[in-house]
Structure formats: C-alpha cells, structure tokens
Subunit: 324 residues, 2 copies
C-alpha cells in the first residue's frame, strides 16, 4: 500500500506530538518538517526526515498528501491555513471558537483543489462531535462542557503577562458539585464561576509586589474576574519540578429526558499530554483529508462533515465487523 | 418547511418511544403506525395518527419519507429490513452483532432507490461511533465496552425460559475494579467474568424446585456459565413494583498512550429508559436517512458512514457557530 505522505508545519509541543503520531501510523510516511526557526536547531526523532524552512514548503506541492498545521490560532493559523490550503490538503486545530466561521470561509476559498479539515483537535474537535451527537440524540435536554483539571495555555499566558511575573501556570478545575448535578439528571443554569475554579501558580520577580500581582490576576476581565481564582507564589525550582507537564481533559455532558425518563450522556478525556493528544486526533483527520481529496471532495470541512470511515486505518468492512 | 413524514413499524416499547420522539421533533410529522397486532388494540398518543396493518404499508410508498423499524433483530428485522428498504427509506436498531455484515448486505441489495441506516441505536450505534473514534484518535491503546447497570432483555428472556420460572429480570452490572483499572490508564486483559456481574430476580411457580432453577440459570452456557451470577427469588408483587422499569446504560473506554503519556477516553450513558433512548437515537438517524436519500445517496449505511450534519435539526452553519 502506498503510504500517505505527511508534512508537519511548526515544531512546538503539538508538532512534536504529530511527529510521534505519524511515525507510529503504519499507513503514513513523514515526508518533512517545516519550521520558522533555524532548521539546524531542530533535531527530528527520525533523522532521515528533512527539516526545511517554512518558505520552502510550496516547492513540495505534489510530494505531500497532507500538511498537519501545528501552530497557534491567532499567531499562525489565521495566515497559514488559507496559505497552505492553496497547495496542500491540510488539517489544523484552530480553536478561537468565535472566529471559526470566518476562518472556515477563508480556508474554503483557498481550498479549490484541496481538502482542509479545520478545528479537528479535541475542543474544537472531539468535544464538538459529542455536543452535536448528544443534542441530536437527546433533543429535550441541556448540554454542558467542562474543561480540566488541566493547564489552560491561554490563561497561563495571561498570567505571564502581568507585570512582576516571571513564570506562571493556570489550572482550570471543573467544580464537582456542578458536574454531579448534571450527572444526576438535573439541568442547572450555571454561571462561569459555578462551573470552573482557576488555580494560578506564579513565580514572581525578586522584590515584586505580590499583593499587586494577585490583585491584577484576580480582577483581569474575561480571564479571571468572573471566576473564583486562587494565586499561589512558588519558586522557580518548584515550578520546574511540579508544573511543566501539560495535562488536560474535560467532559461533555448532556442531561435530558425522553417522555418522563431522565437520560444522561457523558464524554470525558483524561490526558497526561494535551498537545500530544491534540496531535494524535489531527493525525487521524489527516488520513481523512487525504482520502476526501482522493475523491475530489474539496473545500474546507469540519468534524461535522467527515464520516468516521475516513478516519480509521481499518477498512469499512473491518470497522463494521469489529467495532459496530 | 416541509416536514419529514415518518412511519413507525412495530408498537412495542421501542415503537412507543419512537412515537414520542417523532411527535416532539419540530421538523417531523408522524404519518402512520404499522402493527401486526389488531389495529383496534392500539391507542396512539396522537389520535389523528392512523394505525394500520403492516401488510398495508407498501401502499403508502411515496407518502412516507422514512420508516423507523422498531422490531427485534431475530424475530422481525431480518425479514422486515430488506422488505421495507425496497420501498422506503428506513432506520433500525438491528443488534445481533455477529450477523450485521450479512444483514447489511441483504438490506443494501434491497435499497436500490432508498437509503437505509441500520444498527443505529446506542449499541450498536453510539457505542460503535465511540469505539471507532477512540481507536482512530488513540491508536496505541486498548478499548473496552461495559454494559449496565441495567436490564438485559436477552438474558431476562433466557431466565424466563427456565422450567418453573414465571417471571424474571436480569441486570448486567459492570465490575467497578475493572472499570477503575481502565480509567486509571492500565490496559487489563479481562475475561467475561471480570467485566460483568449478572443479577437475576426470579418469580418461581408455586411449588417449583428453586434450587434446580438456580442451578439451571447459573450453568446456562453463553448467558451465565462464564459469569458470576446471583439468583434471588421474589414475589410477583415485588417484581411488579420494583422491576418493571427498563434502565440501562454503559461505558465505552479506551486507555492508551501517545509517546510516554497515558491518555484515557470515556463515553457513558445512564438511561432510565433503554427503549426510549434507542428510539430517540433512531429518530435522529431517520432525519439523516431522509436527507441522504434526497441527495440520492442510496443503499445501506451504518453510523460510520453518516456525517453528523445529517443528524441534527440545525443547519451546518448553526452547528459550526454554536457547537464546534
């Protein structure tokens, strides 16, 4: 069987996760890694895989069946998505929920002869699948998404932006009472504060005003003001030994009814590595993007558009026999 | 908007559940209920809905956009599936896992100008979706399906077949230790006995040999011999007051890894009414069958073949805006 030739764009945590996933997939070959950094600074896991400047990617159109875009939504994808979709089938994990329709349109415009599956990590991605499947299966009900316990990169970055902060990490923690209420079949209306706690671990600059830092964090609009937030100051050493992992996870729940009967649906993830899992899901969708393109199903797609048969390494017959 | 015209075939627990689901769906109209029983004996929830003999169904080809087949796999569907698929778009919950490929082929052969989505309840159905999505997202791992706590109709019927048994119900109970081991990221190899307990509540005939009944149940091959089984004798009164509900549920789990990191995925259902939930899922797939047929995507399909956009009452744009 001819292997699906994959390119990885961006070699941060997600890019390295994609590298692992692609190297482990028996039906894929990792053709190249593209980076904006000095190519010499990058040591790929498989030394035979070329590391190339991102500007050289276009020259490889025709040699790569799908590009896995591993950059961030704001900094990278808004530009890279449409740019790469002109020449390559792509997948990405674009996750600025409010801007997805606009991003989808811009990628779709570019993907005239290519297939692009956008926003296909775990949220957006698997969680989106669950929200839709749950709502369709149980229309009379209420849906809930909880995130964590885990590290939110966005909130961690926000804390790191506070003057006097050297380093920081923010854990989002779902509030047990809220989760249990839904699991037990009620349909509570929950404020942001009732759904998640925010725990910050901060390394302050020597001599910084810790009270001012704590105050600045807790009152930060959007990120923290609407939540119960804890701030704990720790040393750089403690940070390095206890807070460098990137666990995450969360739950999608739906509590509803058919007639008089309560029905509860739940999906959960417990992830030791958020970026590796995101990359692993994207790698499955890279397979789908390639197969859709082979059938000339071009344009920008979401997880809502892609049948599961396209995701699996197994044939449809085997899926039906083994997993239906 | 023109409503999707639905027919329901079979008016047992699942059929009555489908009736509720269709009457609650704003984009559907319940056109008729078909039964093998005396039509006078059936009192539909909406008195304006005609109840007709199943033999008259064929005359209504062209007046029904999708038939929801609510019969059992062995007794009804093996024959009804191909028969109805000749003239109607259909959905069903065919659940004899080992025979699905053959059933799919026989329905596919009949569905030349129609669309049939088979085996689209919760297992097979939603659980199958999870097994495939989990395996594709996390290839290095092990998958597990647990059923219950809940009533297994097949096992209850098996107990009712034992001489001296007047009435009986069997609850399948997942074994906590097994579930917790998987949740904690290990990949145990589990025997049938290690995964589920079987609890039987039996009403015996007056004067029956209870020891013989218990022995007959516990040694029954396939159904009970490979499990730890408990048998409790109760009165008809207790049976009527405590054991007439049809709760069910279960879990699909996958415990795996990306690189060195453990990742755990879980889906669970907690259902007060198994037949109503099955019917509710089938009703969503009835929408999909109709829409696929409108696009001339004919033939027999499974949940692996149907994109989520076809299931939801919402438009693709709204799904992307609200749920992605």
């Amino acid at each position: 069987m001819k292997k699906i030739r994959i390119g990885i764009v961006g070699y941060g945590n997600v890019g390295r996760g994609a590298e692992k996933a692609v190297l482990a997939a028996p039906d894929m070959a990792l053709r190249a890694i593209f980076t904006r950094r000095d190519v010499q600074s990058i040591k790929p896991a498989d030394k035979s895989v070329p590391v190339l400047p991102i500007e050289d990617a276009e020259k490889m159109a025709g040699e790569i069946d799908c590009m896995i875009l591993c950059g961030g939504s704001a900094s990278d994808l808004a530009e890279q998505g449409p740019m790469f979709a002109k020449h390559f089938n792509i997948v990405d994990s674009y996750d600025t929920h409010a801007k997805i329709p606009g991003y989808l349109a811009s990628v779709d415009k570019a993907a005239v002869n290519t297939t692009a599956v956008i926003s296909c990590g775990w949220d957006p991605g698997l969680f989106s699948i669950m929200r839709t499947l749950f709502e369709s299966s149980l229309p009379d009900g209420a849906g809930y998404s909880f995130w964590g316990p885990g590290v939110s990169q966005g909130h961690s970055n926000a804390v790191r932006g506070v003057p006097g902060v050297l380093n920081a990490v923010q854990y989002s923690i779902p509030i047990d009472n809220a989760v249990e209420a839904v699991r037990n079949g009620s349909r509570p209306e929950l404020t942001a504060r009732q759904k998640h706690l925010r725990q910050c671990y901060v390394v302050a600059e020597p001599g910084a005003d810790k009270q001012a830092i704590e105050q600045a964090i807790k009152t930060m609009p959007d990120f923290f003001a609407d939540y119960d937030t804890t701030v704990e100051f720790i040393s750089e050493t403690e940070f390095a030994s206890n807070h460098r992992a990137m666990p995450h996870g969360g739950m999608v729940l739906r509590s509803g009814a058919t007639g008089e009967n309560t029905q509860v649906m739940e999906f959960s993830l417990k992830l030791e590595s958020n970026p590796e899992f995101t990359a692993s899901v994207m790698t499955a969708y890279a397979r789908a993007a390639f197969r859709l393109a082979e059938e000339k199903q071009f344009g920008a797609k979401t997880v809502f558009d892609v049948p599961l048969t396209y995701l699996s390494e197994k044939s449809r017959d085997d899926l039906i026999k083994e997993l239906l």
